[in-house]
């Protein structure tokens, strides 16, 4: 197990990059997977997005100069890839005139979803949020991420992130209150 700083320093040696990157994949892939999975919901999609994220990180290693933490840089790529995936998925759904009304039922039928109806409804309510609110809600509510870290990751002010989270929580609370 390496620290973020050790891995960043080791990456500077081109001859060791491949082995260091393997250590990075070993160390961060699980954390990245869960960030992505909460965004895209299905395991297969999360696996595709995660692999794309890691390949993008590998191909972009020359652009990582250690200005931010390695974990922050990787999470930023993961979130961008997840949001891109969701936008493409939304565009396809619009074209095929599908909507999110059956999302909770789809999740309940998914073999890799162990939650109950309430948890499925929570995912459905979160999926209805705009991209930024959805991302902020996932990072804050489920991962308990600090606003300062989120701000560095998303290049957005802390005040704006707090406002987005507040709106997201309000919308989801209203969603459940209407179901009670």
């Amino acid at each position: 197990m390496y620290t973020d700083e050790e891995l960043s320093a080791l990456l500077q040696n081109p001859e060791r990059q491949r082995n260091v990157f393997e250590a990075i994949v070993r160390q961060y892939s699980e954390q990245l997977y869960w960030t992505i999975r909460r965004m895209v919901l299905s395991h297969d999609d999360a696996n595709d997005v995660l692999q794309n994220t890691l390949l993008k990180a590998w191909n972009g290693l020359s652009t990582f100069h250690g200005e931010s933490k390695l974990s922050t840089w990787l999470s930023r790529i993961a979130i961008n890839e997840s949001v891109d995936f969701l936008r493409r998925q939304k565009a396809r759904a619009t074209l095929s005139t599908d909507d999110d009304s059956g999302l909770a039922n789809t999740l309940l039928a998914d073999e890799y979803f162990d939650g109950d109806e309430t948890q499925a409804l929570l995912q459905e309510a979160v999926a209805k949020l705009p991209d930024v609110q959805r991302t902020v809600f996932q990072l804050r509510y489920f991962e308990d991420m600090k606003y300062s870290e989120m701000s560095r990751m998303l290049n957005t002010s802390e005040g704006s992130l707090k406002a987005s989270y507040h709106i997201a929580v309000k919308k989801i609370s209203d969603f459940f209150k209407s179901h009670d």
Binding site: Y33, L41, H43, N47, F113, G115, L122, H166, S173
Partner: protein, 128 residues
């Protein structure tokens, strides 16, 4: 505490009590054990992009300046060539003269500045 903060805390508390924060998702058996080798197999299939050649970056302003000088040289030569022709010379002859002179001038300028096509393409194709 501000009203807004209070309302925020209350809404969040309601949500936590109503739905909790548990992770309802799971992964296939052994997924994370095989993930690393899968990813590294894909990594090995793609070579990392070569770092950008510093020479091109360093030369970029010089090449822009060279291109500007060429353009200026070409314009001045063309202007003089037009002015030297008698007023009643056939237009085709004028065009031919200018074309020969401008090609020669361009070659001269390129030789003088020691830039070849590859340098110009490298400059134009590199992003900034």
């Amino acid at each position: 505490m501000h009203e807004r903060q209070k309302s925020m805390i209350n809404e969040e508390r309601y949500l936590v009590e109503r739905v909790g924060r548990e992770n309802p998702f799971r992964v296939p058996e052994g997924y994370f054990d095989t993930l690393v080798s899968e990813v590294m197999a894909r990594v090995d299939a793609t070579a990392p992009p070569a770092p950008r050649k510093a020479r091109v970056v360093w030369l970029r302003p010089v090449l822009y300046a060279a291109a500007s000088v060429c353009a200026l040289f070409f314009s001045v030569t063309a202007y003089h060539a037009f002015n030297r022709q008698p007023a009643d010379a056939p237009v085709a002859q004028q065009m031919e003269t200018v074309s020969h002179q401008s090609e020669d001038s361009f070659e001269e300028a390129a030789d003088y500045l020691m830039v070849d096509n590859q340098d110009i393409y490298a400059c134009l194709s590199s992003d900034y």
